[in-house]
């Protein structure tokens, strides 16, 4: 942009800012400082996405090791313990470090653009969420390098697997790494969700009523509410577990009066809403893509949103269907069974609405649409097996078998990951300004779709004939080999597909050969497509006045009275908040606190007593507090831009 259109703060403010311990970097700073101190929701979204894609590769490698181990009977690719570590780390990584942050990447990048906002409500807090997420990812994966290696307790960490009596056998620090990384990841999710809720409720452009919000933004809102209400349960469960392991309390210790059963309840009170936290963003993405590529408005907009809210609400009332075989009693089991069956209704409504949207439309089968269609079909398969599990007697048969593995991978890969990939193919042109290679995209979809089905469809059968999940190996003579080999081949095909996809997304930022996208390459409907690609740092040169639900579409094709108008710029121009070091400082402080707590115990080699040293934890906590205090003292500050009306 032209430099004369930038007006900085008064000189006094500039010098005051410079005199601080960490001077605020100049807004035009470049290189690494640009990324470390950014508070721009678009850059934060990109960093969330890139980190999550890295963890996707990592979690994928763990998955392929698991599949290699199961290639044939009594294989020894991995030892028992390594196998347990692999499925624990695979599950934890994919849920907390891949699907959730990928969703957060889209929330960050797309949601403010869809509601006509210049940023989220609390830009620096948004940056802190990012650093906490990265700190959590680092903490979890550091566990490989310390005593006992990675946790071997499953992503659910059931008591008494987490009991310290196992630590005496293995000198196991893995569960501690798992506990602390989940705590700091929870902090990241909570901060981000408070931010998104405030942004959506409070920062909509004039005329953008709640019932004009794009479905993706609605799903962001619902998911954020799910996160702030579900994460406290696991945070407290983990605090109790940490006290059990570190200070000898008896929450989950059966021998001392505790109830391991309580852990399962607390975990799944979080864990079931978590399932919807993972799937609703993908549903939001698909609800954006299908109308665009069917060239029709979304069928049943209100119903889709209402059923999304119902799913979120009921998601808190079905957690015990993960525990049908624990012996809760007939009344509880029946109640949770009925509620689980009922939750299929709002899900079905959504699927019929997507079909209704496509019905009679002029469908274009481009990559985003292919992934969206893959989402609907594969999610339906996962949904059907889910309804089967809601029946208690059937669930008792399927419990802990590969049938369950097939079910939730159909929901989480065929559902969530396909939805997120659809989002990448749909919105990356908005991020980078370049169209992705359509042929390569279709190739990726074909590989992923075939590889995915070849991997997970046989698992239904394997589960029915009795192969148990979470089990290191199997003996000869059960007839498991053939289908396991097919599944393993499929997994490698899926892995190659995902790898090419990730390559395509990452190189989209550098590849000069790609075609320019222009403002609205898909002829799409929502507000973000009225902006140039890539989007300017201030998003909207003039805040738009919204007249209808599909504003970009109405601007191009609608009657004149439905065209959006612009709020004229007042003499302050566009107020942009300044960069800041303090989110990074606070994030590092939290990492130090967590690592300090992890390593505060040592054993006196002579007496065998436990020694405690809190120096590093206190140092880390002090850095975090220092960061937060300086943060609140520096204020948002900022500078002013005066872009021309056409510069957006």
């Amino acid at each position: 942009m032209a430099t004369e259109s930038i007006k900085y703060l008064t000189p006094e403010t500039e010098t005051k800012l410079k005199s601080k311990a960490f001077p605020r970097p100049h807004q035009n700073t470049s290189g690494i400082v640009n990324w470390l101190t950014t508070i721009d929701h678009k850059k934060i979204g990109v960093m969330y996405g890139m980190a999550a894609l890295f963890f996707l590769i990592l979690g994928g490698i763990e998955a392929l090791l698991i599949r290699s181990q199961l290639w044939s009977h009594n294989m020894e690719v991995l030892s028992n313990r390594e196998y347990n570590q692999m499925f624990t780390m695979h599950g934890t990584t994919m849920v907390f470090l891949v699907i959730m942050p990928l969703s957060a990447a889209f929330f960050n990048f797309i949601m403010p653009l869809q509601i006509g906002a210049r940023d989220v409500a609390f830009p620096r807090m948004n940056t802190l969420s990012l650093w906490c997420f990265i700190a959590g990812g680092i903490t979890l994966n550091l566990s490989w390098f310390f005593t006992g290696g990675a946790p071997a307790i499953g992503w659910f960490g059931y008591a008494p697997l987490t009991d310290t009596r196992f630590a005496e056998v293995f000198l196991d620090m893995g569960p501690d790494f798992w506990i602390f990384s989940l705590q700091i990841l929870g902090l990241a999710s909570l901060l981000a969700s408070f931010n998104f809720i405030t942004t959506i409720i409070n920062m909509r452009a004039p005329g953008m009523t709640m019932m004009r919000l794009p479905v993706f933004t609605w799903m962001t809102l619902i998911v954020s509410f799910l996160i702030i209400l579900a994460f406290p349960a696991i945070t407290i469960a983990l605090v109790e577990l940490m006290f059990d392991r570190t200070y000898g309390t008896n929450f989950y210790d059966f021998l001392e009066g505790g109830k391991p059963h309580l852990w399962q309840h607390l975990f799944w009170i979080f864990g079931h809403p978590e399932v919807y936290i993972l799937i609703l963003p993908a549903m939001g993405i698909v609800s954006e893509i299908i109308p665009v590529f069917s060239r029709k408005p979304l069928f049943g907009y209100g119903l889709i949103i209402f059923s999304g809210a119902i799913i979120g609400f009921m998601g808190f009332a079905v957690w015990s269907h993960h525990m049908f075989t624990t012996g809760m009693g007939i009344v509880a089991t029946s109640a949770f069974s009925i509620l689980t069956m009922l939750i299929a209704i709002p899900t079905g409504i959504k699927i019929f609405n997507w079909i209704g949207t496509m019905w009679g439309g002029r469908i274009r089968f481009e990559t985003p649409m292919l992934f969206a269609l893959g989402f609907i079909t594969m999610f339906m398969v996962g949904g059907f097996t889910g309804i089967m599990h809601s029946s208690v007697p059937i669930d008792a048969q399927h419990q802990d078998s590969y049938f369950v593995v097939a079910h939730f991978h159909y929901v989480l890969i065929g559902g969530a990951l396909f939805g997120l990939f659809a989002g990448f193919y749909f919105w990356l042109p908005k991020l980078t300004g370049k169209m992705l290679n359509e042929k390569l995209g279709k190739f990726v979809f074909t590989l992923m779709f075939i590889g995915f089905n070849v991997t997970f469809f046989p698992m239904h059968y394997l589960g029915m004939i009795g192969q148990p999940r979470r089990t290191h190996s199997y003996n000869e003579g059960h007839g498991f080999e053939a289908w396991n080999q097919i599944a393993t081949i499929g997994a490698f095909v899926l892995g190659v597909g995902i790898l090419i996809g990730v390559y395509q997304f990452v190189t989209a930022f550098f590849n000069k050969k790609l075609k320019d996208a222009g403002k609205n390459p898909w002829d799409a409907r929502t507000l973000e497509w009225t902006l140039s690609s890539p989007v300017k740092e201030y998003n909207f040169a003039r805040t738009p006045i919204i007249k209808s639900r599909d504003q970009a579409w109405e601007n191009n094709y609608g009657p004149k009275e439905n065209h959006s108008e612009k709020v004229p710029l007042d003499d302050h121009g566009v107020h942009m908040p300044d960069r800041s070091w303090y989110p990074l400082v606070s994030g590092l402080g939290f990492l130090g606190l967590v690592l300090g707590l992890l390593f505060h115990q040592s054993i006196d080699s002579n007496t065998g007593e436990i020694l405690r040293n809190y120096t590093f934890a206190i140092a880390g906590g002090s850095i975090a507090i220092f960061g937060i205090i300086m943060w609140s003292l520096e204020g948002p500050a900022g500078y002013h831009l005066f872009p021309k009306e056409t510069e957006e």
Binding site: L229, L255, E256, G258, H575
Partner: protein, 233 residues
Amino acid sequence: MSEASAHALEHHEPETSTGIPNKKVLMWAFLGSDCMFFGTLISTHLIYRKISATVGGNFLDIRDIFDIELTSFSTFILLASSLFMALAVSAIHKGNLSSTRWMLFGTIIFGAIFLACQVYEFTHFVHGKENKFGDLEHQLTLSSYAGESEQQGKDAVAKPHVFGSTFYVLTGTHGTHVAIGVFWLLGWFAYSFTGKMSTADALDIECCGLYWHFVDIVWILIFPVVYLMEYAF
């Protein structure tokens, strides 16, 4: 131009869609989330309260340990601190800085008294009481409970117990909330001496007040559920 910038900086809070300031929406969302934190802790306590009363044949009558007069006093103090907080918020809205400062100070003192009571209570529960033979009994720690000593001259044997686990973690989490609130208020108290405080800070102090009242309300729930109920059921 510089005038315009300065003007813009004075108005940190932009117009919002609902008319409610962003920070307030954030605070309410956080408090909604915090309800679930305490909900989980209180549920844990209620679930274990009776189930584990007789682990290992060691019957626990928690009334032998509780000092209900002291806890009633500290409950009253915490409730009273909310009055100071409300007056501080009211004063900053009216621009009465001196009144704001001293009302904040009152809130801090009462919060600190509550914390001191809790520290005293925890210390005594862990340490136990001396019986007529000079032995310590009724010691409640995080992991065990030592009831009455059966024979004169012998210490009661501590047996594993869950009441201490749920009690200390629940009330300790609440105490941590109070301590964070006290430090937050101390920050404002110190800030009031810098001469920068103005009605522009009213919103921030009000958010601090929301937090303080919430922590207070949680105690209104914890006091009957954890303490008084032991005397009733």
